[in-house]
Amino acid sequence: MKIIRKINLSVVILFLTIFSLGVIYPLVYVVSAAFSPGNSIASLNIIPFADGFTTQHFVHLFTNTKYLTWFRNTLIIATSTSALTILVASLGAYVFSRFHFAVKKGMMLTMLILQIFPSFVGMIAIYVILLRIGGLDQLWGLVLVYLAGNIPYNTWMVKSYIDTISKSLDESARIDGANHLTIFWKIILPIARPIIIFLGISSFTAPWMDFIFPKMVLRSADKQTLALGLFSFVTDKKNEFTTFAAGSLLVAIPFIIFFIISQKTMVTSFGGAAVKE
């Protein structure tokens, strides 16, 4: 019995090891490519790290390309999108959760249906509207587009959370003379912090890798984002896989570190959402 179990266990470990090698293989290869000499993927050795070691791609990124500009633009876009999404979505969610008015059900159902469309379905109209308000080739134009796209789903998400906060808290504050804005700011937001943080993170991370809208809205070389820049390294015209790998590595590492730290919280908020709905 014991022997069988031991064999069993080693089979499991073997299976897991092979599997994790498969999972990790492309990632290791990217890391190795980032430090390998040469340009295209065709010239790379199939064994990671067998080509020698160089940091020239990183130097190239910072000196010959606009990597820093892309990074700064993306950071500005992501930060503003995240902050504005939190503000608008949570304020809307508070109203939906705490007030009763004539068109509420209709509005909520409309938002639910709107969020099933990928926003680029309406991109021609968005383009023309941005053209009219001078938002083309402007970072704030892109932020507006993201913000509007984020609102329907996230308002719902935050609203479901605020629904679970007891209304007696609001009422006792109101007796003490607090107005709605104070209640929202001082009571609801602090209690809803887990979902607000989750919302902030998800709306912060999305713009880093979005492609369609930056491509449509941002034209000039100084307004490009990271996704556009990285994509330009591996288009059909040129294959600078190693530079692409170096650039990707610099973006992905903070993401991965952050992800591993926040893994537990993410699981609980996903799981929590599943149980609550």
């Binding site: 993927i41 938002m111 249906i113 990285l230």
Partner: protein, 440 residues
């Protein structure tokens, strides 16, 4: 007719008529709220001044401009601007009526308060309502305005385009005008034109198959990993879990572009490795054979997507009460039975909404297809329709818009996505707690 209100509520009719007659008059004449009334009145005056513009824009929406070959291109009527402006004007008029409705109701409410308190609120008191009764309006204003102009108007515009002939090469403004064509595009797509119809059938079927396969493989892949890691009491389980999470942590554009390069037919690392190991003689067309490419995108999506469900199912499984397992073990259930009869149904039940969400997400999963294969490889009808072997509806919409400028057909596809997805959205809506408890 005096401007004093009676306290017994009999002046309601007077006030109602005045408020309806001109926005804000009720506030100014009867309720003595001059500032609030003036703001309302100003809004109506602006709207009245805009009336000629509104009429011309609505007219533009109906005609979409007439061909003016004699004029230079820049001065010709631009049908698309006319269409968008028309839709926007409708939104503005709608907003105006909402404000109108709100103004009349606020006048009536203030009158009701007056009947109870027997005195009129001053200017100051009525404006402080911004943080009181009017709070919902103030709080929802940014949401409503953003959604109307950046979500609803574009979508209505897109839906409208499905009924026009806005497409290259003959109907691209400003050179030419666009006209309403009724259901012509739908007829072409659904049977009128063999090439387009077969392409649509092919892409729609693949979209569904893709969404189902992508969801199911990721879900059960994640479940297997969660079960194996939890079940065997391995000391190094956290290490494996850490490794398995990595694909999820890497931004998907990056990982898809990496895979695209690794799997490249001629110079990709995967093929070169297999050849040097002597496993294969000639290259495997991972991304260039229509059927193999379909298989590949599902597999790569599994690589990228299983960690999410692994995390999720691990979370759900650890929440299942241990008593259940103990009781079943006493009854003589084996490990397989425990899984089959307890874990699986409970986990499935709890994660159902997320499975549906994942399914709808995959229907729209632009990145997983576009950055890996670009929708390629080309198949028989690709030169005409631009739909490749792995294109799903959303990537096809993108190509129709960007490469072919067939906006009319792209809009038909957008409407199709709506028809496919709306039932799922409503289903999830009806499952929400607030809907069930009748709070809405």
């Amino acid at each position: 007719m005096g401007t004093r209100l009676k306290e017994d509520g009999s002046s309601k009719k007077q006030l109602l008529i005045t408020s309806i007659l001109f926005m804000g008059f009720g506030h100014m004449v009867y309720l003595k709220q001059y500032i609030k009334g003036a703001i309302y009145a100003a809004i109506e005056i602006i709207m009245l001044c805009m009336l000629p513009v509104i009429i011309s824009k609505v007219n533009g929406l109906i005609t979409l401009g007439s061909p003016q070959p004699e004029l230079p291109v820049k001065l010709r009527e631009h049908s698309i601007f006319m269409l968008i402006d028309g839709v926007m004007i409708f939104a503005v008029v709608l907003l105006f009526f909402v404000i109108y409705f709100i103004s009349v109701r606020s006048a009536l409410n203030d009158y009701k308060d007056f009947c109870i308190e027997k005195k009129l609120k001053g200017n100051k008191a009525s404006m402080s309502g911004l943080l009181g009764k009017a709070f919902p309006i103030f709080g929802l204003a940014p949401t409503v305005i953003l959604i109307i102009f950046f979500v609803v108007v574009p979508l209505v515009f897109a839906a409208g385009v499905a009924f026009t002939n806005y497409s290259a090469p003959k109907h691209i403004p400003p050179n030419n005008t666009v006209d309403w064509v009724g259901f012509d595009n739908f007829v072409t797509m659904f049977g009128g034109d063999a090439t387009w119809t077969s392409a649509l059938g092919r892409v729609a079927l693949w979209t569904l198959a893709w969404a189902i396969l992508a969801t199911v493989t990721c879900y059960f892949g994640g479940m297997i990993m969660a079960v194996v890691l939890l079940d065997n009491k391995l000391k190094i389980a956290p290490l494996f879990r850490g490794i398995f999470i990595l694909p999820y942590a890497v931004p998907s554009v990056v990982s898809m572009l990496v895979w695209q390069n690794l799997l490249n037919g001629s110079f990709g690392t995967v093929n070169r490795t297999l050849m040097q190991l002597g496993v294969i003689d000639k290259v495997i067309p991972w991304l260039s054979d229509p059927w193999l490419a379909k298989f590949t995108v599902v597999m790569i999506n599994l690589w990228a997507g299983f960690p999410y469900f692994m995390l999720l199912i691990t979370g759900t499984m650890t929440a299942i009460s241990a008593d259940l397992f103990e009781a079943a073990k006493i009854d003589g259930a084996g490990r397989y039975q425990l899984f089959r009869k307890i874990t699986l149904p409970l986990v499935l039940y709890q994660t159902m909404p997320l499975i549906i969400m994942s399914f709808t997400h995959n229907i729209n999963n632009f990145g997983a297809i576009f950055f890996l294969t670009g929708g390629d490889p080309v198949v028989a009808d690709s030169t005409v329709t631009s739909a490749g072997g792995t294109d799903i509806l959303v990537t096809w919409i993108y190509k129709l818009t960007i490469n072919l400028s067939k906006y009319n057909y792209a809009s038909v596809l957008a409407i199709m996505i709506f028809v496919i997805l709306a039932p799922f959205a409503i289903f999830n809506f009806r499952r929400t707690k607030s809907y069930k408890e009748g709070e809405l």
